[in-house]
């Protein structure tokens, strides 16, 4: 059963590629929905079956034998975290397919095929236990993602977004592959566990380990869109069709953080260098920069999808901070946050799709007051803003508080301040959009000089625009509901906490993969965050509302001319806009600088 989450969508995609052009649209939709639902079911079964021991599946039954310790075979290494992420991925793909039922009428079989291949690649990345295999799934994700991103190929923008996506991710992938080759040269293996054991046994120079670590991670960090590798993400999101954005923001980007965490813990955590302190410092820097800059930039956007894309960048920074604590509790917080954020963000993108369907634009100023008839959708967007701000009852709240607790225990309490900034700014940005668009508050005119770019977005639907089809708003509501209820049972939270303790214990994976036996040490009961964060929650809520109100009021000229704070703000925004130049060459230059700086940090602190 182990390889089915990858095999099923690939086979269905292949069949659709053969006969899809002769099938009516509804048959395609149903096939895709059933396939993704099946993948959800199988992944949940796998997660359930692997709760007590890691499932190892050797392709072609090429497993390590007693006399040769060397695993030539390629394996899937399945634990509840990986299988759970695969299930989560397919839930979002299912939601995206539901949404596209009455959306995207022009979509032919190609759309379904690409989405299924994309799903297979993401599941493969979640389950893989092999370095090179991870690279292959990563590249398959890039290829399918780029094709989906440029799906509306008659628009010039979409080509530029897809181009930036493809080039930056491919350059990152090449650096990852170079890292894999270097590691292979010194360990003679590609299996995550085997490489980890060999690196720990051989005394390789710490500089080499730092370089190999950073190289291998570089591709995944580009995918995770951390600063300064994040530029492509906003361009790609601004142009990709709405159901594709749901997948991009909901789970694809987050899988980059998952892969980084998996590789660090299984492969590098036992080798003495790069030392844990250096890795922690590096990711604390990366995460804080990403969270704060993403949030500030998010607040300066007027194109709703782009605004949401920058908020994704900010939240990936938050998840990186959870990983950076290098503690099971921190990563447990990241996992909860990932699920909550993915569901909320998917719902918000569907909201953007509904607005685009009804009003033919996603521009905040174009739309001012034009969506008053869509009050229920507006209410859901406001709920989404609350979810992004990490307020209860959303799962993001539990995740964020768990990260804060872990940071506090690791004597990095200042992380809480970064998280609060990210929450207030991203929540306020969505709240401001909702207030202007669904209620009509604030000025409808953009600030003349420093304004955010006006990006035209074509409708993705044809036919009747006077109503919102049930297949559009139901998934939005369901996703928001899911984000609320998923973390309420404390068994879910403690279960995730316990699984993360295993995730960070390489010895368990070594026993399962190399010796085909399962050992299960007893873990202490993980701490779950107590929920007495009332003061902080109230502060975030008030801050968010104040900030949104300020932004709505700041549309008036007299306010802007006099207030030095407003001038400073506009100055910051201008600098950011210059950085986000839209040119792929600049982005690759940033990539190079980022790798050099992060490499220097890692080597100097090792």
């Amino acid at each position: 059963m182990a390889p089915l989450p990858v095999v099923i969508p690939l086979i269905v995609a292949a069949v659709l590629a053969g006969v899809g052009s002769h099938l009516p649209r509804r048959v395609l939709d149903l096939t895709a929905l059933i396939t993704s639902a099946g993948v959800v079911a199988i992944s949940v079964l796998l997660a359930n079956a692997s709760v007590h021991h890691v499932i190892v599946y050797w392709f072609g039954n090429w497993q390590p034998t007693a006399h040769s310790h060397f695993p030539i075979g390629i394996c899937f290494m399945i634990d509840p975290i990986g299988a759970g992420l695969a299930a989560f991925t397919s839930v979002l793909v299912f939601a995206a397919f539901t949404f596209s039922w009455s959306y995207f009428e022009s979509a032919k079989a190609l759309y379904h095929i690409l989405m299924l291949v994309f799903l297979a690649a993401m599941c493969g990345l979640c389950l893989s236990g092999d370095l090179f295999n991870m690279f292959v799934w990563f590249e398959l994700m890039t290829a399918a993602g780029v094709a989906l991103c440029g799906y509306k190929s008659e628009e010039g923008h979409s080509m530029q977004g897809a181009l930036n996506f493809a080039v930056l991710n491919t350059v990152g992938a090449f650096l990852s592959l170079s890292g894999v080759a270097l590691v292979y040269a010194f360990t003679g293996s590609l299996n995550l566990v085997e490489v980890g054991v060999t690196l720990a046994q051989h005394r390789l120079s710490s500089e080499f380990l730092c370089v190999a670590f950073l190289f291998i991670l570089s591709g995944f960090l580009v995918k995770a869109a951390v600063f300064p590798f994040h530029f492509w993400l906003a361009d790609a999101h601004a142009v990709a069709p709405t159901p594709v954005c749901v997948i991009f923001s909901g789970v694809m980007v987050e899988l980059g953080v998952y892969a980084a965490a998996r590789i660090y813990w299984v492969v590098f955590s036992q080798a003495s260098a790069p030392s844990a302190a250096a890795v922690r410092t590096l990711f604390l820097i990366v995460g804080s920069c990403t969270a704060v800059l993403g949030a500030l930039f998010c607040f300066g956007q007027r194109h709703f999808k782009r605004l949401l894309a920058f908020s994704t960048i900010s939240h990936v920074g938050v998840m990186t901070l959870g990983f950076a604590v290098l503690d099971p509790a921190g990563l447990a917080g990241t996992t909860l946050y990932l699920i909550g954020h993915g569901l909320v963000k998917a719902a918000l993108f569907i909201g953007a799709g509904i607005v685009l369907h009804r009003c033919g634009s996603v521009d905040e100023f174009d739309l001012r007051g034009r969506c008053r008839a869509l009050a229920p959708i507006g209410a859901m967007v406001v709920l989404g803003a609350i979810g992004l701000a990490g307020l209860p009852p959303f799962a993001t709240s539990f995740g964020e508080k768990t990260i804060e607790m872990a940071a506090h225990h690791a004597h990095q309490g200042w992380i809480a301040a970064v998280l609060i900034i990210a929450e207030i700014f991203t929540g306020a940005a969505v709240l401001r959009f909702a207030a202007r668009v669904f209620v009509g508050w604030g000025k409808g005119r953009e600030l003349p000089l420093h304004g955010a770019p006006h990006i035209h977005t074509d409708r993705e639907t044809t036919g009747q625009h006077s109503r919102v089809p049930v297949f559009m708003w139901v998934p939005m509501l369901a996703l928001l509901g899911g984000a609320c209820v998923i973390s309420i049972p404390s068994t879910v939270r403690s279960g995730i906490g316990r699984q993360l303790q295993r995730f960070e214990t390489p010895a368990i994976y070594q026993d399962s993969v190399l010796l085909a036996r399962s050992t299960e040490p007893q873990y202490p009961e993980p701490e779950t965050a107590p929920l007495d964060f009332g003061l902080e929650n109230a502060g975030v809520l008030v801050g968010m509302i104040l900030l949104a109100g300020l932004a709505l009021a700041a549309g008036s000229d007299e306010f802007r001319a006099e207030d030095p704070a407003a001038r400073t703000w506009l100055g910051i925004q201008t600098i950011f806009r210059r950085l986000q130049s839209g040119r792929v060459g600049d982005y690759v230059a940033w990539f190079t600088i980022g790798i050099a700086v992060y490499g220097a940090i890692l080597v100097l602190l090792r």
């Binding site: 491919t170 090449f174 080759a181 990006i455 040119r583």
Partner: protein
């Protein structure tokens, strides 16, 4: 000795190709040039893999004409390289098709002239 020279020389070539390819991408004024620069970066991974799999004086791992127990250069690396070629051919094909679309739409293939999305 010979193996060492080949290792270091190959390593240097790989680094050089990677950097010159990156420079090509950063300074590119034409999308086809950009795609080709990307293949130069990719070529650096080929060289690196070839160097990693190289064993001085040993033949290719084709066990039809020689006994299965004899030594050869590392066949795993060759499998990796083949996979790399296939995967990247897909991406480059996608990029070239994007180039064609961009050119058809804007009558330009300069990545600096399609920047409609600043900020």
């Amino acid at each position: 000795m010979q193996g060492q020279i080949i290792f270091y020389a190959g390593f240097a070539v790989a680094v050089w190709l990677f950097l010159i390819g990156l420079y090509g991408i950063v300074s590119s004024r034409h999308l086809v040039h950009l795609c080709l620069s990307l293949t130069v970066v990719q070529a650096s991974t080929y060289v690196l893999l070839a160097v990693v799999g190289y064993r001085p004086g040993l033949p290719a791992p084709i066990f039809v004409t020689m006994p299965a127990t004899s030594s050869a250069v590392d066949p795993v690396i060759q499998a990796l390289m083949l996979t790399d070629v296939v995967v990247e051919a897909t991406v480059i094909a996608l990029l070239l098709s994007i180039t064609v679309r961009v050119h058809r739409r804007t009558a330009s293939a300069d990545p600096n002239e399609v920047d409609l999305m600043r900020g």
